[in-house]
């Protein structure tokens, strides 16, 4: 992870507790660069929303300091922070029209009528809602409300925009479309965006960097590809994308690789990422799409017998549950390309994978 010099937002030793007994956020260190799209990803209760609320000023850290553009913002109330925010349920004001909603941040800033109309118009055009200015939020669809909320958070040209699970209420197609639009808007305006979500696909699609939260701690902070390909611990491996888990004991370490004895005795060559050395327990994580069916003997270091227990036709790929190494929950994804292997239930096959795709992590 590259060191960020001159961070735009800096969380310094931030701790947060609501009841004085448990820490929701434990000693958070996080630097966010100017113009970055950073996603806080994690299951509910992992502390990611609390971090966002502390940044917005609706919660104050129990300990530590948050710096915005080099200045501590501990004593700056939310309305003076100049941070745009999109809320989970959009929080559009139901008694105002779309134009009034989007114009509200300009109105409280005392900006003149003509200037206000011009900027509202520009913001609404940006989210392609220029023609709906006279409507009330209740007359808009979910996707349109989402765009209005976005326009409202952007119209006063904040340098930082916070988004709290903004796409959570949309259906799948709309959500995907909005992901791209958000990404485009981010690229066009160059604002810093901090995005909170529990949807890993969303995080992977949009972010420059992703901070994976669990239990009040950032488990890993990396670019999407690194996060997916090289999860640094078992939680991240499990949370980002789908993974097969194999438990075993490290037998020996061989350069970057290690030899692991699975619990039913099969030896496996895996990438030594985070093990405690020979004799230690490890959890190996293996992406279902990195597994080959019936590979040529010797072409891969790991080739094991497997029995097909279930075959599910998903469309773009075929998903198969297999019994491997004594585990019945081993998932293999076969891409649906012309000439792929047609698996049948009960069939005995061989599966194989490269050592570099199988990451031995902490157990």
């Amino acid at each position: 992870m590259a060191e960020i010099t001159d961070p735009f937002v800096r969380f310094q030793n931030v701790q947060k507790s609501y009841d004085g007994e448990t820490l929701v956020v434990k000693n958070l260190q996080l630097d966010i660069a100017k113009g970055e799209f950073l996603t806080l990803l994690g299951p509910s209760g992992s502390g990611k929303t609390t971090c966002l609320m502390m940044l917005a000023g609706f919660e104050s850290p129990t300990h530590g300091e948050i710096m915005l553009d080099g200045h501590p913002i501990h004593n700056v109330p939310p309305h003076k922070r100049g941070i745009g925010m999109v809320f989970q349920n959009y929080a559009l004001f139901p008694h105002m029209t779309v134009t009034e909603n989007v114009g509200y941040p300009l109105k409280v800033r005392g900006i003149g009528r003509n200037e206000m109309a011009r900027r509202v118009d520009r913001a609404l055009t940006m989210v392609e809602l220029g023609h709906l200015g006279g409507r009330r939020p209740a007359q808009l669809s979910g996707g349109q409300q989402q765009r209005v909320a976005l326009a409202r958070a952007l119209v006063f040209e904040p340098a930082l925009v916070l988004l709290d699970e903004p796409l959570g209420a949309l259906d799948k197609n709309l959500r995907e479309q909005m992901q791209y639009e958000l990404k485009h808007i981010h690229a066009t305006l160059g604002v810093t965006m901090v995005y909170v979500t529990h949807d890993q696909t969303e995080a992977l699609t949009m972010s420059d960097r992703i901070a994976v939260f669990d239990d009040g701690i950032i488990q890993q902070l990396d670019e999407p590809s690194t996060l997916y390909e090289e999860p640094s611990n078992a939680f991240v491996a499990q949370f980002i994308g789908e993974n097969n888990r194999l438990l075993g004991t490290v037998e020996s370490v061989d350069g970057t690789d290690c030899i692991v004895q699975t619990d039913n005795g099969d030896p496996i060559r895996a990438l030594n990422v985070r093990t405690t050395g020979p004799g230690g327990r490890t959890l190996m994580s293996l992406r279902p799409e990195r597994i080959s069916i019936n590979p040529n003997p010797g072409s891969m270091p790991n080739i094991l017998p497997a029995e097909v227990l279930e075959v599910i036709y998903v469309g773009d790929h075929i998903r198969s549950r297999m019994s491997v190494c004594g585990r019945d929950d081993f998932i293999v994804k076969v891409p649906n390309w012309a000439g792929h292997v047609h698996l049948r239930r009960g069939e005995k096959v061989e599966i194989g994978w490269f050592a570099s795709d199988c990451r031995a992590l902490d157990a």
Binding site: L92, H95, Y104, V108
Partner: protein, 436 residues
């Protein structure tokens, strides 16, 4: 279902699943027009729904709408003279042009009918009715009837004038003529401090008899004041109720509802105990030396007492609708406003308060309408200056027995409330109102 009602273009119908006649009518599979089937299905639902509300509808009709309608009808109903002295009235209308005195025949007929009614002891009704128009006419009628029935002799005209010289004045006959029609506006006029003079023109009541307009104004003023006070006191309570943690808000809710479970009379008399000159509050103020023992404050049996007691009693009607609306306002709205740059007071005023308007509207209209018709509390604690129009309605119902005037006052009150309701609907919209 809704789409089936809208007629599709005939082209679409012919391609439809019916396969029947292609006359542009959508049909079900067995050839019945879709609209007919739909109506049949809906009719059954309508009958069931109507059957469910029928008992309540009948109950309301019999116990509420019908009595109110009959009572209001009395505001214009004027049967007395037509029933008691019909021939006199008819003859008077036929022969008298309002100039000078009526013909002898009118006096003769009146005497005949008076004797007749005197014998069946009904003549007092005529006197009472005429007394509404002009004080003193009751005794004129009864004493005249008594005299002519016992000892006076025709010719009646001279006899009448001899009994009382008012029979020789056109005014008396003018009043009888004005009070004669089967339906009259004179009760409604009286409720507005107006009356017919003997020539049939509408004039103001004498100044010392003008009370009802003043009472209407006072009623509306006190109701408005009570509404404003309830709003000022109830809004913060509603806000607390909606925003406190569950445990505290439940306790507060019980405190708000407690008065509801206590009898109105108990609550009103409690205020008497508290506020009277020898009462708790005055005692305390004397004790702490705020006022001297001679300077005890009169806080009840006047307008102040009415206002205090009514505000207290009507407060829950304001708190509950406001609370129920506030409960639905998402806290994220305030946060959003603040993140957009509004100071907390500004965010509250711009974003929170407008969203509470349906509750404020509902609470205000509820409290105002209840206040306008309030009776028991003003009667108990209002003294002389705290009486409202409903106390006068009750007086005319129970004491003076001038039901026509009571009905006219009540009708005007009802009309006023309906006008307010209409205004509210125009300005705010009834559909925006939320009671909970």
């Amino acid at each position: 279902m809704a789409t089936a009602q809208s007629a599709l273009p005939s082209g679409a119908a012919s391609g439809g699943p019916s396969g029947g006649p292609t006359d542009g009518v959508l049909r079900t599979n067995d050839g019945v027009p879709l609209k007919t089937t739909l109506r049949r299905v809906n009719r059954r639902q309508k009958i069931i729904a109507f059957g469910l509300v029928l008992p309540l509808f009948l109950f309301i009709l019999i116990t509420f709408l019908a009595p109110i309608g009959m009572m209001l009808f009395r505001a214009v109903d004027n049967p007395v003279l037509q029933e008691q002295i019909p021939r006199t009235v008819a003859l008077l209308n036929e022969t008298w042009d309002g100039e000078g005195l009526p013909d002898d025949a009118v006096y003769d007929t009146l005497a005949e009918e008076m004797i007749q009614q005197y014998k069946v002891r009904e003549i007092a009704k005529v006197g009472t009715r005429l007394n509404y128009e002009q004080g003193g006419l009751r005794s004129l009628i009864t004493s005249t009837a008594r005299t002519i029935a016992r000892r006076a002799e025709p010719p009646w005209k001279e006899a009448f004038i001899k009994i009382d010289e008012r029979w020789g004045e056109p005014e008396t006959w003018g009043i009888i003529q004005n009070a004669a029609p089967r339906y009259t506006l004179s009760f409604v006029l009286a409720a507005l401090d107006l009356r017919y003079d003997w020539q049939g023109d509408i004039v103001s009541q004498p100044e010392n008899e003008q009370i009802y307009v003043k009472m209407f104004v006072r009623t509306i003023w006190i109701s408005g004041l009570v509404t404003v006070l309830c709003l000022a006191l109830g809004f913060p309570v509603g806000y607390l109720l909606a925003n406190l943690p569950m445990r505290q808000s439940n306790l507060l809710m019980i405190l708000v509802l407690l008065p509801f479970w206590t009898s109105l009379l108990v609550r009103t008399t409690t205020w008497i105990v508290l506020l009277q000159t020898e009462g708790v509050l005055n005692d305390i103020m004397v004790w702490v030396g705020l006022i001297s023992d001679d300077g005890r404050v009169q806080m009840i049996y006047n307008q102040l007492g009415t206002i205090i007691a009514m505000t207290h009693i009507l407060l829950p009607f304001m708190v509950l609708p406001i609370f129920s609306v506030m409960k639905t306002i998402s806290p994220s709205h305030m946060r959003a406003a603040r993140s957009l740059g509004a100071t907390p007071p500004r965010a509250f005023w711009d974003v929170y308060v407008p969203q509470t308007l349906p509750g404020i509207g509902a609470g205000s209209i509820l409290v105002f309408i209840l206040s306008v018709g309030y009776y028991i509390t003003p009667a108990l604690v209002g003294g002389r200056t705290g009486q409202l129009i409903s106390n006068f309605i009750a007086y005319h119902m129970q004491k003076s027995l001038n039901w026509g005037l009571a009905a006219a006052l009540g009708g005007l009150l009802l009309l006023g409330v309906l006008v307010l309701y209409w205004l509210y609907n125009r300005l705010v919209g009834i559909d925006k109102m939320k009671f909970g």
